[in-house]
Structures are given as structure tokens and as C-alpha cells.
Amino acid sequence: MWLVEARTVFSRARVRALLAVLLAVPVFLAVAVYLAGGPRAGEGPTFLDRASHNGVFTALAGLVVTMPFFIPLSISVVAGDAVAGEANLGTLRYLLIRPAGRARLLAAKGVVTALFCLAAAVDVVLAGLVAGVILFPHGPVVTLSGTTVPFLDGVGRALLASLVVGVSMFGLAAIGLFVSTLTDVPIAAMAVTIGLVIMSAILDGVSQVAFLHPWLFTNYWTAFTDLARDPMRWHLIWKDFLLQLGYVVVFGAGAWARMLTRDVLA
């Protein structure tokens, strides 16, 4: 069933447009850096100063740029629409009469939203790699630790980073899915979800609530940069995964409880 759901979601014009925007960002970034001759070391976001050194860093810079807003936004759109969109169209009642099964339908929605998280991040990295390789050198990669690794090793790390980023979005996806079960208005679900991302990011920047930081789902979003060290540092990434799992369990259970008891009136 989730295969059918995946086909429906990924063939939607809206979802394709989101992926196209995510694809365009690292390409624009690479072209801008290429035309400007590259910012000096230490300027701009992490990795941007290195974007012109190697195609691998172009891809990583693409992730850094899309991570705070573009990727969460597109995930909020897809997750927020998951159940509320069906309710809004009225197709939810027909899926339940089919009968798809309430829990199974939610599971299919969850799997496909998770797939979209991975697709969004992989999309950015692939576009960055292609643009970077065309515009910039693609020899051995100098890591953040100063060592040098072969180019293919670097490519592997960039792809790994995209998967890590995808997984670190699972918490947000679960939140979006839960919000989506609460309403029949998909735009509202999307807006609330993106609002929570912004709130979490703001709280993450306020030192007075430092005690909250380890619990915020945005807190470890940049942990993937540790993959550009030599050796790769996994400590924060594992912490992040554990935190995301927590969010998935809590909000997944919320979505499940709501889905099973919801009166379908739309």
C-alpha cells in the first residue's frame, strides 16, 4: 500500500516542484560562488568558503544552506498534507471505507513522509555534487581535520551526510503527521508545522533556555558536518538519531491515537 502512496505523492506536481527548488538551491549556490570567484576563508556559512575547492564541499554547502529552511519547509508541506489533505478532499472517507484500515493508512503515510525526507536531502546533495564537479576541482578532498581523503571517499561522505540529514528530519516529519491528523485544513497543518520549526530554531539560539536545547528537534541538525572530519565523528549524530526516535515515538503515537478515534466528517 505504501508503494501506491509513494507513487501518488511523488507524482504530484507540488511535490516535484519542491524537489526542483531543493535541486536548484545548490546549483545557484555553485554558480554564484563560481562567478564571484569564491568567498575568502572563514566567510559565509560553514563549507561555503570551501565550496570552490572541491565538488564534495559544494554538495555539503548546499546541505548547510537548505537545512535551516528549505528542507524543513518542504517536509512540513508534505507531512502536513498527508492526512489533512485527504480529509480536505474527502478522499479520507473513501480510503477508510475501502477499507484501507486506519492504522495501516497512517503507517503508509508515515513511510512515504520519511521517504520524502531522505529524497529531499539526497536531492540537494546530488545536485550539489553534479554542479560542484562541473564547476570546481574534483580531486582528493581536504577534510576539516586537515587530512586528505580520495575523491570517491569524499563523495561517499557527502551521500552519507544526505542520509543523516534525511533521518534527522524524521522528528519533524512525525510532528507534521501528527498535526495533520488534527485538522481538515492542510494549509493550517503545514503552517503550524513550519511554525514549530521556527520556534524550535529560535529557542535553540536563546542561551537562557540552554537546559531545553538537548531536547529540541532542531538542535543537532548540523551534526552531519562532523562527517567531514577525519576520522568521522559520530557522537552527536547518534545523539540526534536517538532524539529523533523519541520524537517519532511520541508524535507517532499521538497521530496513531488520533487517527484511530477521529470522526471523519469531511
Partner: protein, 311 residues
């Protein structure tokens, strides 16, 4: 639980914000019947149907579908139930055929191998073959309704629950639906047909349940319901007010005036006796017609009021 009932409910009720939308409904829909679920807009038909299909949790009451207790048996009974609830709903950006394909695949128990043939068959049955490749958003209201029916007919069903299936259809479409309902019934399926259109129900149904303000006022075979109201007399006169007084004075019931016409239930009164009295009272009679009760008369007799939208 009687095995020969396709739908059975006991005290089914639903409150919305404290107000009862459905209020203690006891349905008994015989297997194999074509059951007309009749009631004006807002009388609780759709809400009842949503509860039957497990979309809404009732505030009170129990129910079973095809002899199995719901909602526990939903996953095993619903595959035998085709339904149209509160109008069709599909993805506007997909074609009619793609919509049916997704719908068919989003759940257990439907063979992918037979899918294309079953979809083509269902589309043909509702006359949508030519428009199957068009996007749903380009469909007219009647075409959407047809696609909804097609989705209910993707597999053979034992029970069809059709909520106002002719909404938005032209007269030709309405006739086709009537034909389709008869065909389904002839194949042995139970058809539970909700409608606010008296004529629709009168033409195809063997049984009728009358809903009014959330309550089921009567539940009988159609002939029983019509004969319970008895014969009526309709007259066209120059002074309808005076004529109504005379008729009521004779002991006729449900006397109503509309324009220059007066009508009422005869009861034991003979038409010729009524005619003599009208003339005797100085009323000029242009026309006098004894009639069989219509479904509308039966409805008025049951509710004591016209067939209007409930508040």
C-alpha cells in the same frame, strides 16, 4: 442477530455539540431489498450512513452490517460494501481511471491482475469510458457522481450504500442510475438508497424508512406505507378556504390548500358525498379527483408537516 438483515441498528444516535443529528434510529434493512432512506435535507441520513460505515463513532447504539457486529468486523465486512457518502471525492489532478486505480490498490484483497479489466468494466457500467482519461477536475458534477459509483462497483458487492446518488445529475443520468440500481438489485445485492427526492424512492424501492429530524418515523414496505395513508381527494374550486372547512367538517384529515386546490385524506368519506356537500355549501367545483396516496402524502401524514429542510 437476524441473519437476513443486511443492516440492523439499535438506538443509533449521534450528538453534534449536544444537539442530536441522529436520535435513536432502529433500522432493519432486509437482505435483498432496495431500501429507500427518505428524508429532507438535514434529517440525519448522511450522519447515519457515516456511522454505519465506521466513519463516525455513534454517541449511543449498536449496529451490524451483513450480520456481523460493527465496528469490530469492519475490515471483514466493508470489502462487501460499496458506498457513496456525501458525494464523490477524488484527486483533482489525476484522471478518472488513475483515481480508480489508486483507490483499488489502497487496501487489501483486490487482485492487481484483474484490476485493469475491473476498472474498464466499472467505467463502462456508469457510462464513463470515453472520459476515463480526463482529469477529475475537468469532470462535471454528474460525471463525478458517476465516477463515485464506478468506485463502488469495482468488485461485486453484497450491499451498496448510496447517499443521494443522483445529486447533480441530469434527467438522463438520473434514469441511468435508476436502471443501475434495479440491475444491482436483480443481481441479488441489497441497495440502501438515501434520497431527499420522493419520486426517486417511489420508483425503485421495495422498502422505505422515513427520517425526520434525526428520527426514523416509519419503516415499511413501500405498498404498506402508501396504503397506511389511504385514498385522497383533490379538488379545484373557486373558494378553497371554504372548501377546506367543508372537507374538515366531513371528517377528512390532512386537509391542505395550495392555490385554488384543496386536498385531503378521505378516510371513510366517499368522494361523491364530499362533492354534494361542497356544492351544497355554495363552492364552485371545477374538478374533483380521487387519488392514491403518494409518498409525499405519507410523509406529511407521518410528520404533520411539509417536506422542508430541518432547522
Amino acid at each position: 442477530m437476524a441473519p437476513d438483515l443486511a443492516i440492523e441498528t439499535h438506538g443509533l444516535a449521534k450528538l453534534f455539540a449536544g444537539r442530536p443529528a441522529v436520535d435513536g434510529v432502529d433500522l432493519a434493512v432486509p437482505a435483498g431489498s432496495t431500501y429507500g432512506f427518505l428524508g429532507p435535507n438535514g434529517s440525519g441520513k448522511t450522519t447515519t450512513i457515516r456511522m454505519l460505515l465506521g466513519l463516525l463513532t455513534p454517541s449511543a447504539g449498536t449496529w451490524s452490517i451483513l450480520g456481523r457486529t460493527m465496528p469490530e468486523a469492519a475490515m471483514s465486512t466493508l470489502p462487501h460494501v460499496g458506498a457513496l457518502v456525501e458525494g464523490p471525492a477524488f484527486y483533482p489532478w489525476m484522471s478518472g481511471r488513475d483515481n480508480l486505480e489508486r483507490f483499488d490498490a489502497m487496501g487489501p484483497g483486490r487482485s492487481p491482475a484483474t484490476r485493469p479489466a475491473r476498472i474498464a468494466d466499472a467505467l463502462a457500467r456508469v457510462g464513463l469510458t470515453a472520459a476515463a482519461g480526463k482529469k477529475y477536475k475537468a469532470y462535471s458534477l454528474g460525471m463525478r457522481q458517476r465516477l463515485g459509483l464506478a468506485s463502488a462497483l469495482l468488485v461485486p458487492r453484497r450491499l451498496l450504500v448510496l447517499d443521494e446518488p443522483t445529486n447533480g445529475m441530469d434527467p438522463q443520468g438520473t434514469r441511468e442510475i435508476r436502471h443501475l440500481v434495479r440491475e444491482l438489485a436483480a443481481d441479488g445485492a441489497t441497495v440502501f438508497l438515501s434520497s431527499h427526492l420522493l419520486s426517486e424512492i417511489q420508483q425503485v424501492c421495495s422498502h422505505v424508512g422515513v427520517m425526520h429530524r434525526g428520527r426514523l418515523l416509519a419503516q415499511q414496505t413501500l405498498p404498506e406505507l402508501l396504503s397506511s395513508t389511504g385514498p385522497r381527494l383533490r379538488a379545484e374550486v373557486d373558494d378553497p378556504g371554504r372548501a377546506a372547512q367543508v372537507m374538515a367538517g366531513l371528517g377528512m384529515t390532512d386537509v391542505s390548500v395550495s392555490g385554488t386546490q384543496v386536498a385531503g385524506s378521505l378516510g371513510e368519506v366517499l368522494p361523491e358525498e364530499c362533492c354534494r356537500r361542497l356544492v351544497g355549501a355554495g363552492v364552485a367545483v371545477r374538478m374533483l379527483v380521487p387519488e392514491h396516496a403518494s409518498l409525499e402524502d405519507a410523509f406529511v401524514a407521518l410528520t404533520g408537516e411539509g417536506f422542508d429542510v430541518a432547522g
